[in-house]
Symmetry: none
Subunit: 466 residues, 2 copies
């Protein structure tokens, strides 16, 4: 609910007039971006990730951003651009990503995941909510400011990446190598969500991430379970035994050393989290579960925002078809990721898991563990940091109510990297909503959020100039 | 090594003379049968299964078997035929199958899997060892007896099926419906192997089989492991917890009631199994494992032949691709089969597993168990059963050494069905060898086994008349 600024000045600000009059094709532009299947996890789509980079770079150039270039990282590229003509004003690094998650299980999508179909107020497609929608809105807001007002209120640098959904493996080195180019006073990340469609929020923290694959190898070939069963170990049984040894009855993690560096929640942390509206019954209904589950002594909100986890993301081995096949398989595999909280370090958690695997070797099979990716440190920003204060004012104006202070269970590795390498906090300022199934079939974004996001970025850049 | 019977009587028996003088095309006849790609598992080959049935039926008619017919089962057909003119002599039901396993991976075959190529002493092709070779030998032996001696020493009925390699789904009902037609004093199965090319064996038992699928359902959709991890149960964790609760540290099965009906091994059972040549180091080398694994207190041979198992044949859930996907999946699944020993009943073991699943439900997910197929009872035949005594004498004569008493870890459902429905034991009397890669690329059979098998069936039918 925007305040009608015409009531104050008798005139709409220039950016707003431009938005209304000169951006009628905004939705079509977003559809075009969503239709590029820029799945960073799948090698066969790497050309599409590059295509999305080119599309985004073209748009930055078209809106008036200078020195736009597609920069190599060793993996998927980064799009950089800048506008540094606001002398004496802060420099804001604007962060986003143009890659998306894979689409499987594809059969659960009602329409093609890259069809960008519009139904009611919603635009459907992989990446619509996470985060091509907010990314398009950010670029359109900058265009409206530049073309509607002739200048930006602050200096900006864009860093848009194509590997966020695979954990940004090359981005840390890129940031280190381009530290001077990227130097700034504050980072605004357009990647993220508000607490609800009608409830704005200020993000105070993100969990970190680390990943490891477990591989169990038994006999050198698949065996007939009748001829050999009983004489040799079955790799699947060895795997389930190992995996079950990692978590206790209530989801508490039994890997030795896992919790060593976890900073206990303060009373203030718990007070802010308790103020966040959370309807447990509605949450269970929405997820289709009878009971929530997790560590004793913590609320569900505390558990998903501020406690570490160890989750098996995938498991596979042996026969998966219809009916039966009496095979004693040669191999079995599991993929694990952990969410981390301050002050856990990804490398140390991986080391603890690998130590656990080594100590739980089993006769008749060989179990190995392999770290995947470089992980992400957890991230925290003070609630009253100056960027957060500006964000709070904009959100209060747009939503007509004060934001709540939240954390996010997910990970945005770059926040911790920007803090350690550039010395700048990242304000998380994205406009997804939690009921939009990101990373899942039928992902969508609301067109009303598209409108709100464009206004929000314009307002925020003005506030940050003050 | 056949005893030269001419030394005793001055004359070859009639069947042997006929074999030598009138069956010079025996190998070509076997090649013709192998060239029919009668793969019962593949719908596109069902015409070939019928063609193999017709080929076998024609041969039975040609050798003098009466009332030969191809009988419908609802699936692949059965070939039936009889010769019942040996008044006062026992009636022997002769069992075999003319279907074969699929041939994949086809690229590992040195020659076409249905080329029936002969190299050295070997005939190569899918089904050569399992079991078109022994089947052809059986029919030729009956021909030699009928044409060389004018009559068979016993009454015989043939039941040759076309669906053994897919678990004989319609055969139990067929046997029940044709109980009178199939009534007999003993069954001889030509399906099976001797312990080694130079070591004959008497099969005393087969393990039974039952199958169940476990399905775990959690949240109604795949969730982002960052946003939701910690708040809800992960179906894969629930699955590994359940599965691990089913087996103990050494592979002992912890499902309540699982062992209730297991008849302990007798001293005589263990003595016979200990006499079977078994080189543990060679076995480990062949399987590529450092250690064998299984229930304490039993030898590897006892464990794979005479102890029940619970094996996870397949497990799957969540992400299986390259790299990471931070998903908390909606579902996870496992496929289990158990090998059973006397007196376990498939239905009761399934019920015990289902009870275990029900008692190990976990908060936040729903776990269901679904039996698959109708299972197979375990089968045992006393070592000194009259059919086994006759088999032992024939084998000792042909190999020049006494057979060892073995069991098979796998399952041949018809043996238990013949016992319960016809009241007759099945003597397993086939001439495959364990180094002939059945169910795998480059399956072959030895032509020396072909010769030995023809003689063996002729001698056995004579012995059974006594």
């Amino acid at each position: 609910m925007a305040i009608d600024r015409r009531g104050e000045t008798g005139l709409m600000p220039g950016w707003e007039t431009f938005m209304q009059e000169s951006q009628p094709g905004a939705v079509e532009g977003l559809q075009e971006l969503i239709r590029i299947p820029s799945i960073s996890a799948l090698p066969e789509h790497s050309g599409d990730v590059t295509k999305a980079a080119e599309c985004v770079a073209d748009r930055l150039r078209a809106v008036g951003i200078e020195d736009v270039s597609i920069m190599p990282t060793g993996g998927h590229p980064v799009v950089y651009g800048q506008w540094l003509r606001a002398a004496g004003k802060p420099t804001i690094l604007l962060y986003g990503h143009f890659d998306v998650q894979p689409v499987d299980p594809i059969e659960l999508w009602d329409a093609g995941p890259f069809s960008a179909e519009i139904r009611d107020d919603r635009i459907y497609g992989r990446g619509a909510s996470d985060m091509k929608g907010s990314l398009a809105a950010l670029i359109l807001a900058v265009e409206a400011l530049l073309k509607g007002e002739g200048a930006l209120p602050v200096n900006v640098k864009f860093i848009l990446e194509g590997q966020e959904e695979i954990g940004s493996p090359q981005l840390p080195d890129f940031v280190v190598a381009r530290r001077d180019l990227l130097s700034c006073d504050l980072v605004i990340s357009a990647d993220g969500q508000q607490y609800a469609v009608d409830q704005p929020s200020i993000e105070m923290g993100l969990r970190g991430l680390c990943a490891v694959e477990i591989d169990v190898r038994g006999p050198s070939r698949d065996l007939h379970s009748g001829s050999y069963g009983g004489a040799v170990q079955n790799p699947i049984h060895a795997l389930v035994r190992l995996l079950d040894s990692m978590r206790g009855e209530q989801g508490d993690i039994l890997v030795e050393g896992f919790y060593d560096d976890v900073v206990p929640l303060s009373n203030e942390d718990r007070r802010l989290m308790a103020k966040v509206p959370f309807d447990e019954e509605a949450y269970k209904r929405e997820l289709g579960v009878k009971d929530l589950f997790g560590e004793a002594g913590y609320s569900p909100v505390e558990r998903k925002w501020a406690r570490p986890t160890l989750e098996i993301n995938g498991i596979f081995g042996g026969f998966q078809g219809e009916g039966t096949k009496t095979v004693l398989p040669s191999e079995a595999h599991a993929k694990i990721t952990c969410r981390l909280v301050p002050n856990q370090e990804p490398d140390q958690v991986i080391a603890a898991i690998q130590h656990h695997v080594d100590r739980n070797q089993q006769p008749g099979v060989e179990i190995t563990s392999t770290p995947e990716g470089s992980g992400a440190r957890p991230y925290l920003i003070p609630p009253d940091q100056w960027g957060n204060r500006a964000a709070r004012e904009v959100l209060a104006e747009l939503y007509g109510k004060a934001p709540v202070y939240t954390r996010t269970g997910g990970s945005v590795p770059v926040c911790a990297i920007f803090l350690s390498e550039l010395g700048s906090y990242t304000v998380l300022f994205g406009f997804g909503a939690p009921d939009e199934p990101v990373h899942a079939p039928n992902e969508f974004w609301r067109l009303s959020s598209f409108d709100r996001a464009r206004r929000a970025y314009s307002l925020l850049l003005h506030r940050l100039a003050a």
